[in-house]
């Protein structure tokens, strides 16, 4: 019994020392207090001149059930079946003039070319999602806000966060800069782990 008391006292002392140390040690997170979302890069809520749209805009369109919206996945059946945007269809398809088409592929060049081809063929509302699935996963499903964001940033953030949650995303407030992750990593986390506890 005496041994146990000694052991417990030792454990308690170690815990107290490490805990007190934590009190004065500063942040355990890596990185400086840089902003997770750069203030210089405003969120694009309208299509760009060359047809580029942001994942947030596409999400917005899906949510408000924009009439005639079609989403085209250029990546092939295997990639499509692993993960695709909501309402996306595997290419190729036929489109009618009045429809709004958003294409995405494995890289931005492919997507941009496909959109411009469609526009040359008479589709006025043909857009592309530059970073495709990766953008959907990071910008929409895993957006981050720095804790020292300005009130303007927070106002925009509220809209982003709500949209994100609508699609099952996890908006989070994060100190420091998260190292850029590959789309494959983010996909693995989002799809496999978000519910497995």
């Amino acid at each position: 019994m005496k041994n146990r008391v000694t052991t417990n006292r030792l454990l308690a002392t170690v815990a107290l020392v490490l805990g007190a140390g934590a009190l004065v040690a500063g942040s355990p997170y890596r990185g400086d207090a840089e902003r997770a979302r750069s203030a210089a890069e405003p969120v694009a809520w309208v299509p760009a001149a060359d047809g580029r749209v942001s994942a947030l805009l596409v999400a917005q369109w899906l949510r408000e059930r924009k009439a005639g919206l079609r989403i085209s996945d250029l990546r092939g059946v295997e990639a499509y079946e692993q993960f695709h945007l909501p309402k996306a269809e595997p290419a190729p398809q036929a489109f009618s003039r009045g429809e709004t088409v958003v294409v995405y592929g494995t890289d931005s060049v492919e997507a941009r070319l496909a959109a411009s081809t469609l526009r040359e063929a008479g589709m006025e509302q043909a857009y592309y999602l530059a970073d495709g699935v990766g953008e959907w996963l990071t910008e929409l499903l895993n957006p981050t806000l720095s804790p020292d964001a300005s009130p303007e940033e927070r106002a925009v953030w509220a809209r982003i966060a709500e949209l994100s949650r609508y699609f099952g995303g996890l908006p989070r407030i994060q100190a420091g800069v998260a190292e850029p992750r590959s789309a494959a990593e983010v996909l693995r986390r989002t799809v496999r782990r978000s519910c497995a506890f």
């Binding site: 052991t7 454990l11 079946e81 496999r192 519910c195 497995a196 506890f197």
Partner: protein, 172 residues
């Protein structure tokens, strides 16, 4: 079986578990869990018996994956197999393995088993709602200082104490 040995110092046992949890964080970047494994088992079971019932249906879909690999090939399922083995090993080593029913001095086997099933059912619902149980939320989320997990801890302990009088006859 030899005489059952006394239990280990609970604080040391806790430290042992804490180290196991820490290893999970360090190696896998995730914590422990338990109820998730059972969700996978249920989803797999239902899918085997009635596959149409689980297609495109939450929450089943979330546990079944895309069909290319067995849903049972899952981190938590393997972990829970480990938990079972670890428990068996410790019990055998300590002479504590015994086919029996643990219950309070005034409870009958019948009432114990009924309450075990009932309590399990209720916990299953609670764990699904909270996205975890004592292992996933309290232990893991607690160590990570996650807000939801601490809410879970507070809610669970408070409810346990408040509901305790109802089951006094079972345990004391």
């Amino acid at each position: 079986m030899s005489h059952p040995r006394p239990y280990m110092n609970p604080y040391l046992a806790g430290v042992g578990i804490g180290i196991a949890l820490l290893l999970a964080f360090v190696i896998m970047g995730r914590g422990l869990g338990a109820s998730g494994a059972f969700s996978t088992v249920v989803a797999t079971g239902v899918h085997t018996v009635a596959p149409d019932h689980t297609t495109n249906k939450l929450p089943y879909e979330a546990y079944l994956g895309d069909g290319s690999v067995s849903p049972l090939k899952d981190w938590l399922v393997f972990e829970i197999l480990g938990i079972t083995l670890g428990g068996l090993l410790s019990a055998l080593l300590a002479g504590r393995f015994r086919v029996s029913i643990d219950k309070g001095p005034r409870a009958s086997n019948r009432s114990r088993l009924l309450f075990a099933f009932g309590g399990g059912t209720i916990m299953g619902i609670g764990a699904k709602l909270a996205r975890g149980c004592t292992s996933g939320q309290a232990l893991t989320g607690g160590a990570l200082l996650s807000v939801g997990s601490w809410l879970f801890i507070i809610g669970a302990f408070a409810a346990g104490y408040l509901a305790a009088p109802l089951f006094r006859r079972e345990w004391t």
